[in-house]
Symmetry: D2
Subunit: 348 residues, 4 copies
């Protein structure tokens, strides 16, 4: 018997990825799909204009879409809601006892909500005890912004092995990150746009510090190094590329840094969670890698790829990172979070 | 009577741009075209597969292509030679008394060769006195790498107004920068390549320091701040975009920095050289500019566009710059150099 | 003294092209700009998000936007209105005595409205006499759909020289044809869409027959051959490419067909209208031409390019045509229509 | 025990697809890899620059590359050789007793070589009896050009159900069809190229007629309707799109045609060959399908997708077809051919 789960925002871009990725999941089964009033009452097949390859899974296509204030029988709800509504809806559902595993930005920086990357900060789940006291039983767990997942995973082993002083990151982000209809084609035809709305740079500068920080004395203590980000939209369907400069307190050998990246692992690998990549970070050898088209799908899109780890003076490194923004950077990240909750007994 | 000029490497990507841009030039007239042995003896129309829009200018199409060791009657030679041959050919032609204005990389860092951006370091032409003593009369003047033109022009007013401590730059470079056939289409289809061969990062880290440095006591003294670069090829036809982080010795106000950029000018503007942009740097207001498709052609591709000048802590700035890589970043840069030489009386 | 003109739909994609192309026009001057209620009362600079390269002309930027029911002092109005409103607005303005030169589809097939390509069917202006009787003085003249301009111009000389039996055409249409925001980028990223809404195929199958037909006994008589169209959206910024198959009643020599195309001209060339291309059709020699990036801007985007004129059996031809869809296929087409009206004394 | 197979041209674009697709094949195992002299003696990992996603299968990476004149112990050889060498090499290997299943064009139109699409013309294998008499035991079987697979599969059910009079087809072909380095990126950046070298149009006009014809009295009799093709290269990574016009001898109902397409099947489906798609042709409902990015991977890239089956007069149809050019249109096609040979006992 699989665990029934509900999908919030099921007809949207992230919701569709949830449904695609959960088809044939060994533990979870999509039992409920919720979306806006406009969709409610229709079959999922009718309500949804499927924009991923192929067609929606037949079992989900037959489900009737409900609104997000319907009573859900699934304890676990994956949320791909738009940030314009996610805040209140998720709060309400947590207060009704649900485990809300959200990809939305609204609660990421809340004082008792884990901003979770299972390989990096599984210990932040300790915050749930306090949160549940507040809500009366349910809770919210979030995953980071799509770029942040790649950045924070690349920084985690470096931060553990060496003391980081500061970080500069420039992103080249894929079109799918903007949802649908998202970016008008004329904006990226033969073009690059050096801007992404919705506070993208601010998120990239803030979220990794919460993730790479500690949860101590019932409070999150962010990592103490600053991050400066400059973001770009490029004409790539999927896969965010990042050029990262890291400066350390002491001299760092690029080969040692690459080794720390390549051996990085965490609870998902130890527990062999279904969506866990065997290797969390793939350190690639070619001097022109990672590349979105060639590397975004490594380990079904759940591994982060890193390449060109090279010196920038004795105390600095330059490196490139790549994350599949709608899998490891969104729906897949949330599913892995859900798996960790299950493995930890937090869905009981 | 216009001044006759010769084009070296006339059938290549840069050579074609020279010929396109020099059509109807008020001072210069393409009188001679030189290329490899394979092309010599043919008409330019026959020898050249024209890859720019439209067709080659009729007057040039009729010229007979010579080899680069032919005797040239033009004093001024513009070189778009491939770096595999440019070094020796340009040296030989300078020793024969020619003014060689080169876009090739070979002599850029030579001890007595100006690496010239007329708005920035016209004073470096003082190095010609020593060079001409060495060659016996002729000389070589070079322009920088296509990305470097944009970077050095953006840094020049900042470096003059404030003391720079270090620079990080990430480039998103256009396909035309690789010449023809250049980058295979499968490498950039739905993709980004985080690497450019030919020592691109090294050039970007070194050339601006020579340009922004001084020529004192018969020697170039490079600027004393380090530059760290990370380069990418993106699927854009023309126009290199750069995300730049600058750290200063003291606090810098972004508005003051933007004002310094917007008012930047030099000898080309004062002398009203034909190819000089009215404003060397266009500081754009939109929070999503500059963009290659919309901004690369400002002032016929000779202006550098800058946008998003914003704070990065009290002593830091983030900004975006854009340069038309085959005009201001290559053939147009060389033509402006030739115009300055003429205006200074160095072609007499 | 230039002739003042008004632009309807001035802030939209077509309206912006009108304003860009009319800057420095020798006869016309943009004196009035009209758009929706949302824009009315603002300066054009404020009301318009300029999406073409660079910035709007300064003189137009200062104009105050009016609504389309404002009284216009310009006799000549260029309309780039959206088809949801163009029908009624243009009718009303013609009834007030204006010469409405429209790019919108609404009145193209009306029984007394010329669907005009000045090189092809200038004689259709005879329909204005009847129309003006109906309206009381003003009138509407339309230009065809963006693909149709290229198709009808390519077919016109063939239809005159030889008897056409049927036509098959497949289009590969540029993104700008859909306006802004138009096509979502995810729809064309690494993709082709074999469909264009708004009855595109129907227009391509009907409009050329009106254009290539006659105006006799106060009625339009369409050309008698059928056209079958299949349309596609491709990831190109500007320039519609068309693969055309024509079957004739008798044997046709490809060289004779190419000669007929190359020598094609009409009133715009004879009258030397400002926007008339010197050669209406450029017959290109390369076996891989025309191409949008290389050929769309021939004669400032006003020439149609044709290539690969080759046999398809003794009575058939295959050929490729290219038209700059937002210049010759839209705003530029309307301006040329306006010029012909002026030259014919129809604006007096 | 799996059947060992050799890959000819193993390091090339088609060879890499063979190796990728054959990893974990239930019947076949890549045992030998052959390429040019330059690669011979190296491990496959060393010899090959892998250009597909991820990395080559570990088992193949360890194999040592041989030349194509090495003795092969595998009876079955899949050939992805370049056409400059495939002709002679394949002839020689057939004469040594091998079953050469080739993707190369050289022998496709030979008088006793099947040009095979197992769903369409499995009966053409009867030609092998004669061929083997000639060679002394070995034989060559070919698959069609990448576009032709899609076209011939779409025409087969129409040709069987109704009498075709003529066909017009326009292709929009993917970049991967040109191999590597293939098309220079500058040729397709913001562009379409209305030409493909190597006789692409001629192949599309000839090959389907052999495939859809008969093998009677020891000779191939081509289908009797003409095909006219016009080809284009577009900026899509994988997936050839085709706009097809078919004219019939009698009236045809589009719904009946769609039904004939949707129910099309052949020996691969009956025999449940490992690479056989469950449904050979997917008839899609959306009015904007098929699209390369969304539909090329249906049934692991082995199904052809068809959409927009609509009337073109009473005796005509318009439809769109899509084929994954490097899977169903190349390596996957050959593998399915190999599977049919095995199932028919022709590898014994």
């Amino acid at each position: 018997m699989k665990i029934p789960v509900g999908i919030l925002g099921a007809t949207g871009a992230v919701g569709q990825r949830f449904i695609q990725l959960l088809e044939n999941h060994p533990w979870f089964e999509v039992a409920e799909v919720a979306a806006s009033d406009r969709s409610a009452g229709k079959s999922y097949a009718e309500a949804c204009t499927w924009r991923l390859a192929g067609a929606p899974p037949a079992a989900t296509a037959r489900l009737t879409v409900t609104t997000t204030d319907a009573p859900f029988r699934s304890r676990l709800l994956f949320s791909g809601l738009d940030s314009s509504v996610a805040g209140e809806v998720e709060t309400a559902l947590a207060s009704k006892g649900h485990a809300v595993v959200s990809n939305s930005r609204n609660h990421r920086m809340d004082a008792d909500v884990p901003l979770l990357i299972p390989e990096v900060n599984a210990g932040h789940l300790d915050a749930l005890a306090g949160q549940r006291k507040r809500t009366g039983g349910g809770y919210i767990v979030t995953n980071p912004n799509c770029s942040v997942v790649g950045l924070a995973m690349a920084l985690a082993p470096l931060s553990r092995a060496f003391a980081i002083e500061d970080v500069h990151v420039v992103t080249l982000q894929a079109l799918s990150g903007a949802g649908y209809p998202g970016v008008p084609s004329m904006d990226v035809a033969d073009n690059v746009v050096p801007y992404i709305g919705g506070g993208e740079e601010e998120k990239i500068e803030a979220e990794p510090r919460k993730i790479l920080g500690a949860f101590k004395n019932a409070a999150f203590v962010p990592a103490d190094f600053p991050i400066a980000a400059s973001v770009h939209r490029v004409a790539v369907s999927d896969g965010h590329t990042m050029a990262i400069f890291v400066r350390f307190a002491k001299d760092v050998d690029p080969a040692a840094a690459a080794a720390a990246l390549a051996s990085f692992k965490g609870e998902p690998q130890e527990l062999k969670l279904p969506f866990a990549p065997v290797k969390a970070i793939h350190v690639l050898e070619g001097n022109d890698r990672p590349q979105p088209r060639l590397d975004r799908d490594r380990e079904n899109g759940m591994a982060v790829s890193v390449g060109r780890v090279r010196a920038n003076g004795p105390r600095g490194l330059k490196l490139e990172a790549l994350v599949h923004n709608t899998i490891r950077g969104a729906a897949g990240a949330a599913i892995l979070n859900g798996e960790l909750l299950k493995a930890r007994g937090l869905l009981a």
